[in-house]
């Protein structure tokens, strides 16, 4: 439990910490998105924190919330042995305006982690020198891990041939697979004419 660490951060940045909680042994701090980089710098450089590794940086899309995206960073201190999870919320419900400071100047692992977060969610990292797609091809449109990106959508670079009588069954066609649970995580009946499929 890194309670002492959380207290240290709260003392140093009283206005930046919005929430804290501790679940299953993980300590989490929810920060104001504007204080992201300064808190991270403090955690890296301060000898009481000594968080010298950014273990992981990712995004979670809470599509009904505002702000919509939660940027989640896991930090580890190899010398002191404690871990911390930092979170910051960005973006409006349409997915625009999701921007946060880049941590590449503090930890080099942020480079690829932020590129993937950008690729998958569309969150921009201000100050990242090379923010381009990493897992998807450059011509890809959309941000695949967002909740409203349909899982069965395909964007082939080379379109399928039109052969009469052959049904090219796309992966996860309408009558294939099992849509488990009662929840729907993507719009299911898209009307191409209707910009507001309700």
């Amino acid at each position: 439990m890194a309670q002492a660490l959380i207290d240290l951060i709260k003392r140093q940045f009283p206005s930046a910490v919005l929430e804290t909680h501790s679940q299953h042994g993980d300590d989490t701090l929810v920060l104001n998105a504007l204080a992201w980089k300064s808190v991270a710098e403090f955690l890296c450089s301060s000898p009481d924190a000594a968080m010298n590794m950014l273990v992981d940086l990712t995004v979670v899309d809470y599509a009904e919330r505002e702000p919509r995206f939660e940027v989640v960073a896991h930090l580890l201190s190899l010398s002191l042995g404690h871990r911390l999870r930092l979170k910051a919320r960005v973006g409006n419900p349409e997915g625009e305006g999701a921007a946060i400071a880049s941590l590449t100047e503090i930890w080099a692992s942020a480079n690829w982690a932020e590129r993937e977060a950008f690729d998958m969610f569309g969150v921009t990292f201000i100050g990242h020198t090379d923010l381009r797609r990493i897992l998807m091809y450059p011509e890809f449109e959309g941000y695949p891990l967002r909740r409203d990106y349909p899982a069965d959508k395909i964007q082939p670079l080379i379109p399928y041939r039109e052969i009469p009588g052959i049904e090219k069954v796309a992966p996860f066609g309408r009558d294939e697979g099992m849509s488990f649970g009662r929840q729907v995580h993507a719009r299911w009946a898209e009307d191409p004419e209707d910009p507001q499929a309700n």
């Binding site: 649970g181 729907v184 910009p195």
Partner: protein, 522 residues
Amino acid sequence: MSTFKLDGREIPFEKGDTIIRAAHRAGVDVPHYCWHPGLSVAANCRMCLVEVAPPAGRPALMLDVLRWDAAKNEYVAEKKPKLVPACQQGVADGMDVLSQTSEHVKRARAAVQELLLLNHPVDCPICDQAGECRLQDYWLEHQGTKKRMHDEPVHKPKGQVFGPTIVYDAERCIVCTRCVRVSEELAGDPVLSVAERGNLNEIVVSPGRQLDHNYTLMTEHVCPVGALTSSDFRFKARVWFLRSVRSVCVGCSKGCNSYTDFDPRSLQVHRYRPRDNANVNKYWMCDVGMLDYRRIHEGRILEARTSGESTTRESALTRAAALLAGAGGKLALVLSAEHSNEDNAALFTLGTKYLGALAVFYTGRPQGKADGILLEADRNPNTTGVLSICPTAKPIAELGQAVAAGQVAFALALGSAVPEDATASALSGLQGLVVAATHEGTLPQAAHVVLAASSWAEAAGTFINSAGIEQVSERAIPPLGESSPAWKLFAQLGQKLGHPTSWKRPEQIQANAGSAASEVSA
């Protein structure tokens, strides 16, 4: 504000409330089978037993019980407090009720659940209730233990046809008597009753009768297990594949709130379920409405027609535009009480503002018989809505006179059915009739151009019921076949005639009309 404590949480209550009703209002769930907010209290399932702390200074009512002590390998005498059913116990100010926080209550619930499952058949793979079954949910939440009985379970008749809509399975029945109370209290027809005694209890239909009143599907709806199944929905779809939207029934002008359940893979609507609305239909829907979902897929016009021949929407629109262009001042509009406010407003705007129609009529389905409970005589969902869009609209029966008098020679109509057969001859007297219709009927039969319109399940729509309440019905499936929402069709028709009818969303129709917009309430 009088409150009582439930598991330490203060919950307000009204005079005459029982614990479970006050908790239900506050959104707290006390597990139950036989209680229903819209029915009388039976208190026979004993699942809602809770522990009520005695008033200050009074001792708790304790019962002598024997508890199996595994360490001593014998029964030991113990006392436990008497638990009360939450559905029957009235609430008093300051009462302290323990539900989840009491060990006795937890043991009681596990025991009740175990007893209910003792003779229950292993039917989950074939039972329609699977996925929305209380026995399944409560087993996981409250019991979690295995079967302790090694005897043969009691066998009872299965697959009994109670009536044209309901099939009964006595082995699955937990005799909560919800169905008995629905028949008696809601439908006013006490045709079901409980027969036999003890663990041979089953529900029977009165001799010489069938379960055939207008609320039989409500007995299936309230049944918490798979004992009563709808023969219409049986074996059609598994409920976890179905998605629901909040809709409004269009069977009559009552406007009961419903859920439309459809399979998103095949985009087929499989059933309706009632949705609670204290102001309109409380918790219920009648059979006529429940089975009305069939009309979404049956008898539909899915392709445009000109002169009875199927054609593309484009060519039908072109032909319709040509017809209407030569209408002069003899154009009449026919609104439809079957269609939503959006469809009718689009037609009204196009007709009056741009095409100069002078005469406005309205049509709908013929009247039926009201049953005095929910079903109303007016079998159209939106008569009030149509009359609010155009208060001077005349019934379509008067169209015949107008045609005969030579005032009307062309008509742009919405809808399929007409209230009387006599209208058909009037329609044949028109020189040009363009109809946007969802189903086959008198109007599209007589039309020169038929445009395929989408039904209420394929586009969101607002309906005003007979009490004047405006309700929105959400969209379930995308337009079937070549159909398109009527309000879109009218925009395209207007554009073909060179008018700036460019609305892309229903809200824009009002702005286009320039008339006072009625607020769409969710």
